[in-house]
Symmetry: C2
Subunit: 336 residues, 2 copies
């Protein structure tokens, strides 16, 4: 258990380090924060905090830096989680409510990375958990057609395809009917399998069945594909802790690997902590910290994340993230 003064010192060190990215010494701490004791006392307390694993030294005679555990303690017990009025105002102007729903999520992600000067990303909503509501197919010319695939959640995906020779309007109509009869209500995940099942039926009734068939498979694969959106990756170039090019390469490799982000939060290998309001989650992996928050729209859920150096303004980021997820959810309810 920490004493009041120890907590004040820890809080000051974390916040000062978040600002400056430099190790903090007893003297600067005394000057910046009006603690009514001497630097020697602070040194003693710092020493204690270090034995408790909350602080670290970069070398024997350097100032202190918060350890991951120190950040964790800070987030759990010490952080004030309120935005000041100026920041609240900024949030409200950024999140104006006339964004089209399809873009709300990506736009939120963009705003997030802009406001934090960090990288943010959004996972899902996972299209695989939706089911098929309609397939519409209509001729474009004598040798081409557009298919529009719509899910029960109202997402739409379209795909143009081209036939080597003419295709009749009736053929397309027959095909649409067959597909709708057999596939409506199927989970997107299972559509490709089911498509294979009804292949013989298509074969009987439709002339250019294999072209149509392949086009549909492709369209559904596109639907199910990655679903990870990044914003502000280059902000990492401006973080002093990532000024080493080797470190940057590592981080960009992380960004490139979309499977990594899907796994994050599911494995228990990393230090993890719930944010104070119990909505978000904080994870430290290698040298980055990830703040994440889940949003629900309809049956589906998605995850908004902010990635940055361990030294990041948790307070501010958790609040903004919270605002963003609430915004997404509210927009969804409104439009629905």
């Amino acid at each position: 258990m920490l004493s009041r003064r120890q907590e004040v010192i820890l809080k000051a060190i974390v916040e000062e380090f978040i600002k400056t990215a430099e190790p903090i010494g007893s003297k600067t701490l005394l000057e910046q924060y009006g603690l009514n004791c001497s630097s020697a006392t602070i040194r003693n307390e710092m020493n204690y905090l270090e034995t408790e694993g909350l602080l670290e030294k970069t070398h024997a005679s350097s100032g202190r830096v918060p350890s991951t555990y120190g950040y964790r303690y800070y987030v759990e017990y010490l952080m004030d989680s309120f935005l000041d009025e100026k920041e609240k105002y900024q949030l409200q102007t950024f999140f104006s409510s006339d964004l089209p729903l399809e873009n709300v999520i990506q736009a939120s992600c963009d705003i997030l990375s802009n406001m934090t000067n960090l990288t943010s990303l959004v996972l899902g909503p996972d299209a695989n958990r939706q089911s098929l509501a309609h397939i519409k197919l209509f001729p474009l010319s004598e040798t081409s057609a557009v298919a529009v695939i719509i899910t029960d959640q109202g997402h739409a995906e379209n795909k143009t395809f081209y036939f080597a020779d003419r295709v009749s309007v009736e053929d397309i109509q027959t095909c649409t009917n067959i597909l709708n009869d057999y596939l409506v209500g199927t989970l997107i995940n299972d559509v490709v399998a089911k498509l294979n099942e009804i292949k013989p039926i298509l074969e009987r009734s439709v002339k250019r069945h294999e072209i149509l068939f392949n086009a549909f498979v492709q369209a559904f694969v596109k639907f199910a594909s990655d679903n990870v959106y990044f914003s502000g990756a280059t902000n990492m170039l401006y973080q002093p802790e990532f000024s080493d090019i080797e470190k940057l390469r590592e981080i960009m490799k992380m960004f490139d690997d979309s499977t990594l982000w899907k796994k994050i939060g599911t494995s228990e290998s990393s230090v993890k902590v719930k944010s104070p309001d119990n909505k978000g989650e904080l994870i430290w992996v290698n040298d980055v910290a990830i703040v994440s928050s889940i949003f629900n729209i309809g049956e589906e859920e998605g995850k908004l994340m902010v990635v940055g150096p361990s030294r990041m303004n948790y307070n501010k980021i958790v609040s903004i993230l919270d605002f963003a997820t609430q915004f997404i959810e509210s927009q969804y309810k409104k439009k629905k």
Copy 2:
């Protein structure tokens, strides 16, 4: 006018520098390339090439590095523009022909950045030069609908929208009819203006006209939006000349500015040269070189570009780029 030997030396320096990224001295040149003269002669020739502005020194007693003008001379007169068999084989396997047309261009871009280990990007085809062929609008639920917008080139864009209250199927049908009557054949560029013209007509016939109206405006804006696709931006992290973080920031800023890439090639401020086969174009801007090649599909044109350090393997890149543009064009013709 350069002598034969001077050209051989220049060619050797450019190619050696492309390989090693190090300044080349007279001695290494003699060892690597079997020139039947002494290092002193080479030094004399190098000196001459420097006075002609084809070579540069990084400092008074360093080896030589090609200048921009040197690269230019190399590309214009000295470069052999053929790929070896291995590279040709690699190209053919990468560009397998069963890519769906919509993805052909982006996929080509990805392959390009993979093969070159550089950044590649594609501009256009410029949707604004297409005209509207159909608008299809169908109800999704009682309070939502999908609009599908199709151009004469067969591109499709879809947009879901939501009404605050119920909307009848007839209303949607009427709206579709009006829009088709007035807008079919209009250039995408002009659609928004024309949409404003027919606003009064919509107003008379359709109940929720302003929601429909806004949704369409948004859909068309999306159509006309950026249209720049990047691939392999992080490859820049592995170029030795960009190991300086300040340089990297500069380059990433360039990448972020999509308007810049649209302008490139149109301004005459930068050093520019046609590639030997007269298809592509080479531009040097700041510390990057840009190789670009235009492809035509139907009435439209697009531009494929590869971006890298000045020291890049022009020979290889020009050939690959050439292959890629031809591939895109052939795929288009085939599907059409």
